[in-house]
Symmetry: none
Subunit: 208 residues, 4 copies
Amino acid sequence: MGPILVTRTGRPRSADADRAILAATRQALVELGWGKLTMGDVAARAGVAKTTLYRRWANKNELVVDAVAALFDELRLPDRGSLAADVEGVVLQFGELLERPETKTALMAVVAESTHDPGLRSRIRHAIVDRQKRLVETGRRRAQSRGELPDDTGDPASATRNADLIFDVIAGTVVHRILVSGEPVDPSWAHAFTALLVGGLPAAMTHA
Amino acid sequence: MGPILVTRTGRPRSADADRAILAATRQALVELGWGKLTMGDVAARAGVAKTTLYRRWANKNELVVDAVAALFDELRLPDRGSLAADVEGVVLQFGELLERPETKTALMAVVAESTHDPGLRSRIRHAIVDRQKRLVETGRRRAQSRGELPDDTGDPASATRNADLIFDVIAGTVVHRILVSGEPVDPSWAHAFTALLVGGLPAAMTHA
Amino acid sequence: MGPILVTRTGRPRSADADRAILAATRQALVELGWGKLTMGDVAARAGVAKTTLYRRWANKNELVVDAVAALFDELRLPDRGSLAADVEGVVLQFGELLERPETKTALMAVVAESTHDPGLRSRIRHAIVDRQKRLVETGRRRAQSRGELPDDTGDPASATRNADLIFDVIAGTVVHRILVSGEPVDPSWAHAFTALLVGGLPAAMTHA
Amino acid sequence: MGPILVTRTGRPRSADADRAILAATRQALVELGWGKLTMGDVAARAGVAKTTLYRRWANKNELVVDAVAALFDELRLPDRGSLAADVEGVVLQFGELLERPETKTALMAVVAESTHDPGLRSRIRHAIVDRQKRLVETGRRRAQSRGELPDDTGDPASATRNADLIFDVIAGTVVHRILVSGEPVDPSWAHAFTALLVGGLPAAMTHA
DNA sequence: GCATAAACGAGACGGTACGTCCCGTCTTAGA
DNA sequence: TCTAAGACGGGACGTACCGTCTCGTTTATGC
């Protein structure tokens, strides 16, 4: 079908402005943090009037979530030959991602704001979180094809519960390690964590 | 020997005011969230002048961290007879704690603010996080005395790394489950998660 | 030739707001006096945000001086046929003006503040005081054309000194009578004062 | 009858403190002006607690008027041999007094505050203004004994009106010259002003 | 090629909260 | 009882951003 072409009259919105605004938002977020980031400052960095921001996003939250969402799409799951190696690889990737200031600040800030804003919460979930679950799914299928994990039982709900648990364990542990404990995700820690996770998987799958 | 008695001149600060302010802060945090919480509102709730807040805390961040810290001291580790039962118990307790609005909001907000404020970060670490590591330590000793875990090797650094890993896994996973995935920590999930963790422990301990 | 048209960008300032603010300032000054007049209150009376005040005036002093300056422009010097009658007329007018609460409060307050603020002092001098010297000049020319006073000698500095002296005597005496002595400027007092002044003029002009 | 001896129990008030407070008030008034003078600052300069100020004066106004009143008692009227010389002498003295910063600031500030505070107004009138009218009285009697002015008629009210007028003219003109016009009271100006006043006196006395 | 219409920059607007300063009162301990 | 010290409730200050609202100008499209 292709994109719907709405021929509208008047001057079209500038795509340059969009890009400049999102980039400026990420930059400001790193330098100032959520609380000190101001719309006026973002506009100035982007070389754009404040009005232009408000024509595109209703408020600060929406703008920041959009500015941040793309950052989390770079995670990949190359085939490293075994389930353990795949997990260890994604743990290290995720660690590197979260140690970058813009990602670190953005994720926590946006989650914090969401704790009392259901709309923002679901926006985050769809724009950021759910998109990463594909990695767990890919890993599981690959492990099954290698014979490292049993095939799915007849219960798809059980499989989903399992995937969600693993996702929470990996994402949660790495986030906590970096943002709360303030320790780095280095290869030796990733190795130990992977051992724990992969070692526990068989037991977990019988309880899910 | 004993506490130093500093005889200070002038009218002493009111301990009632301290308590009222911290309670008002927690209440306001629940109702309004971090972003909408204002010092003036907290002062009014506490029946106190705004200046009285600023005499005690330099700004909003410091006040909120102090107000929140006490909430996390209620976690206990009663002996339930086995390592798995102990872990499951603390996971459920922590889940309940985090599902309360004041804890949920407070923790994330404070962590988010801390991502660009090293002083605040260390204040959180000392006032909130490190104090909970006692639970992991207690659990490990108890499991060793039951024979569920091997005695410490000669390497105390290894033991510390292990404890930190387990702490990050438990705290991180529960936090992620509730705050990011937005799912409840109910008994069946706690059971599955505990199985994963306890099942993986032996493997983890050989890699730490 | 003609006024320079400065095309400025952005939304222009509201002239209505200017007027409303100045009027509200005068009203508040009468009701509350200088010390109790607050910027927030003026803003509220004017139906305007406090920021709108601060966009136009740097502080309370500047605002009040501007608000007050206009009041003194209503003094006129109609031709009453003789120098004595002209002087008596302006003394009575000035007396009436100064017995109005807003003028009374405003003038003293503003002069008092100015005693330790050179900038404010010169602002007052230009905005209020110097503009009234026109009255002395008009009166002198009129008296000369009537033959009541000799024509200017060749020394313009002498004429200026004379005018300034007369201005200080009239303004100072009326102000002191009303604000310090707290007595009214009624016709009989005005008559006596005029007799003193006009009687002394020939002597003064030979010494200036 | 002498001072009333009230034998009171407890520690007596310190007379040193009184002196130190009044001196500190005058000093602060010069440096800061009325508007910026604060009770806390005065207390600190005087080496005294704020409480001690409030035990002696009810508020800022009362304190400042008392601190300032004494300054105006130094005017004298030595006999210079003629009415004109006496007037010129007191004009120059008053000019010098008003050019001192503490007097200048104090007088205007206190008058300004008084415009909306009747109590303060009468306190000023009694403590400062009326005490100076003795000078006019002395000068008049001396001129009469020299034969420069006619003896009092049978109408004492007329004499009083006359004295008040002369007082307003002298005080008002000098104050206006210094505080409003911002020009100095130098000998040549004093000479011209005296000529005006003395030249006008005969005419004024027939109208009073 | 000229009218239409939306986007654009600039910046003023009504608001809200900030953190500071000072007021005048109060509560301690000590002289 | 007075004093020094300093905490207290209160209120205004002047600042910083918010998100909205005019303006005059620019830039596409469609008649």
